[in-house]
Amino acid sequence: MRLAILTDIHANREAFEAVLADCAGMRIDRFVFLGDIVGYGPDPDWCIDKLIEMQAAGALAVRGNHDRAVGVPDGALNANARRVIDWTVNRLSAAHKAFLSGLPLTVAQEDLLFVHASANDPQDWIYVTSERHAMPSFRVSTARVIFCGHVHKPALYSQDMTGRVMGHGFGYGTGVPLIRSRRWLAVVGSVGQPRDGSGLASWSIMDTERNELTFRRVGYDSATTARKVRSAGLPEALAARLVKGI
């Protein structure tokens, strides 16, 4: 089975559509969404509708901190993020909100675990940004491969037979064999607000038969998204960062 794993779409319709178009040629059997469908971006209603439609067709989805903040105020969000959530809440229907609050924190499929942030305490929204931060996820879970988002920068960690965790370099577009002598944690980059210095939308394919994970990047019309952010009166910084991927 080939899984397309998308995360941190952040109400960015153009990026979401570009990734779905990229998926079209990739023989995807199932979509998995790792949360944060809303926040930061100008098209929350369209993105949720698309997600609802895809979930009905078999897609899996978990909840992110921005999705939760729509229903329950989150003091941990920064000022810009909070402003966009306030704006978003007014644009969403009751059905949208109910959908977001109904999302689970984690979803498992066979030996794979999907979660928005660190798996050790999914509600604490801990960033997995280093080997040290990856360790707790391996400790609490028995899954062979853990997928998370939240960081907006793609990364790959493994835990060897002695329990040691290490980060790995990887290339885009080449399937990395997730050899079974190790356990793996993949931080899937962000579709709608990449922050690793590249403005290209980031997503991943997990091929469970070949046991290979492929990181992908795809270009999208970020200028249009930035324009929409500005005309919606959302913070300028959120528009400017999209083009540069910062």
């Binding site: 790959l156 493994s158 060897d160 037979m161 002695t162 040691r164 290490m166 980060g167 790995h168 370099g169 990887f170 290339g171 577009g173 080449t174 990395v176 064999p177 050899i179 079974r180 002598s181 190790r182």
Partner: protein, 477 residues
């Protein structure tokens, strides 16, 4: 539950037969499988009790890299097993033996040295093109198919340019086989394909002289000496070794990767074009460097922590391409060949390490006397060579990066295609003659080269006034 390999063991449909080899880190078994009639072997890592780090990680690296490799220079992988029960990799069995036997007979006749060296370099180039640096090249890791191709084995220390490098992430000691390990590997750099060229150089040295260039060091401290101590020049050990071969060997063994061959293809090129190898002082050297030179080098090397590493393998291969330029020297094509010259010159600006192989095809009669044997034919050959060299005057390239060949073929396209294959060309540049009815029916040389070449082809055309536009202008007049 852990299983241990033994004759008669059945696992995943494979039945273990005789044990073929016991190595330091693994055992090799003959295996059979009802669905695979061809001869197979299984490699099983020897895991000592407890956690045996380097062996396990080395095997993990092989399990990651080997299934991705294709082509005649690697053994095809059929299956692999998990550490949970018993880790293994099953591959096709290569009928020929390891090169180790041939190395035991060294020094070999010069012809045999050249042929083996070129075949080994071909296998290495094929591997590099698949984004893998072997990093443990030695005689035991080359097998030869009955058809002649060398097959590389044992990828436990290898590095794939696009995959996680588990070894670099886990271990910090230099790893490799001491007699063949490159200086930068000693300095813990694992990202340079030119490390493999160094090992090839050490092996060609051994084939030619019967000795290893740096003996058989047993400690890292002894390995370190190759950063400043130069090997005894091969010709001092065996004076029938031609100067050009010594030039090739010592160039491959340069301490600074930047002074070696920049790709295996370039090494193959020199091995197969001995007359065009540019001889430097390396070729004429008959003794090791003197005490003061070595002492100064040792002092300088004390500060060296690393050599410049290429950004990526693909980048390195692209940076040092072989450009094959097919030049049409007929007088009416002068202006086209000038355009071709300008195009090559532009490419050399962005690819300063490129090597340019200029060729001209001497069309021979399909049937009849071989032109090159009579006097007129010989004269033609020489005059074409002179013409080709005249054409290339003005390329700002050292001699060793600019070569000339006159190809004789009844079919110019085949001549160019065969030569491109033989020199592992990365890019062909050639001119296309204008449009004519004959060419429309018979097909043009450039069109065939474009269609059949295994590399990029750039076709240069003279800017031509578009016919339709010309007609409009004429009718307006």
């Amino acid at each position: 539950m852990q299983m241990r390999p033994h004759t008669g063991l059945e696992i995943d449909g494979f039945t273990l037969g005789e044990k073929l080899h016991t190595g330091g880190f693994a055992t090799i078994w003959e295996v059979t499988h009802p669905q695979h009639p061809a001869p197979l072997v299984m490699k099983v890592p020897t895991i000592l009790d407890g956690f045996d780090g380097p062996t396990i990680v080395g095997f993990e690296v092989e399990q990651m890299i080997m299934p991705r490799l294709t082509g005649p220079h690697v053994a095809r992988v059929l299956a692999q097993g998990d550490f949970a029960r018993m880790a293994y990799i099953v591959t096709e069995r290569i009928a020929g033996g390891s090169m180790w036997q041939a190395f035991k007979r060294a020094p070999l006749p010069i012809d045999a040295v050249i042929e083996m060296a070129a075949r080994m370099a071909q296998a290495v180039h094929d591997l590099h093109r698949q984004h893998v640096i072997h990093l443990d090249l030695k005689p035991d890791n080359f097998l030869q198919r009955p058809t002649g191709e060398m097959v590389l084995i044992d990828f436990g220390l290898s590095r794939h340019d696009h995959l996680p490098d588990l070894l670099a992430e886990e271990f910090t000691i230099p790893m490799g086989t001491f007699p063949y390990i490159a200086p930068e590997q000693y300095l813990r750099q694992r990202g340079d394909l030119r490390s493999d060229l160094y090992a090839l150089g050490a092996m060609i040295y051994q084939l030619a002289t019967g000795r290893m260039p740096f003996g058989e060091p047993e400690t890292l401290k002894q390995v370190r000496q190759r950063l400043w101590r130069d090997p005894v020049p091969p010709r001092a050990l065996r004076n029938e070794i031609p100067e050009w071969l010594q030039e090739i060997i010592l160039r491959a063994l340069e301490v600074d990767p930047g002074r070696r061959y920049q790709s295996a293809a370039q090494l193959i090129f020199d091995l197969t074009h001995p007359l065009q190898v540019r001889l430097t002082e390396r070729a004429h050297k008959m003794a090791q460097d003197g005490f003061w030179t070595v002492w100064k080098r040792k002092r300088a090397m004390k500060k060296v922590k690393s050599f410049g590493t290429p950004i990526s393998m693909a980048g390195q291969i692209d940076r040092a391409p072989i450009l094959l330029v097919a030049v049409d020297l007929s007088p009416e094509m002068e202006s086209l060949s000038h355009h071709l010259f300008l195009a090559v010159q532009r490419m050399l600006v962005i690819q300063p390490d490129a090597r340019v192989a200029c060729v001209n095809v001497l069309k021979t009669a399909r049937i009849g006397i071989d032109q090159s044997t009579d006097e007129a034919g010989n004269h033609l050959h020489v005059s074409r060579l002179v013409g080709l060299k005249a054409w290339a005057t003005g390329f700002d390239l050292p001699d060793d990066r600019l070569t000339y060949s006159i190809l004789e073929n009844s079919d110019p396209a085949s001549g160019i295609l065969d030569h491109a294959e033989a020199v592992e060309a990365d890019h062909i540049l050639m001119g296309a003659r204008g449009h004519s009815t004959t060419r429309r029916f018979l097909g043009s040389v450039s069109a065939r080269v474009v269609a059949e070449a295994h590399c990029s082809v750039t076709v240069i055309r003279l800017p031509e006034r578009r016919k339709a536009l010309a007609e409009v202008e004429e009718s307006a007049a």
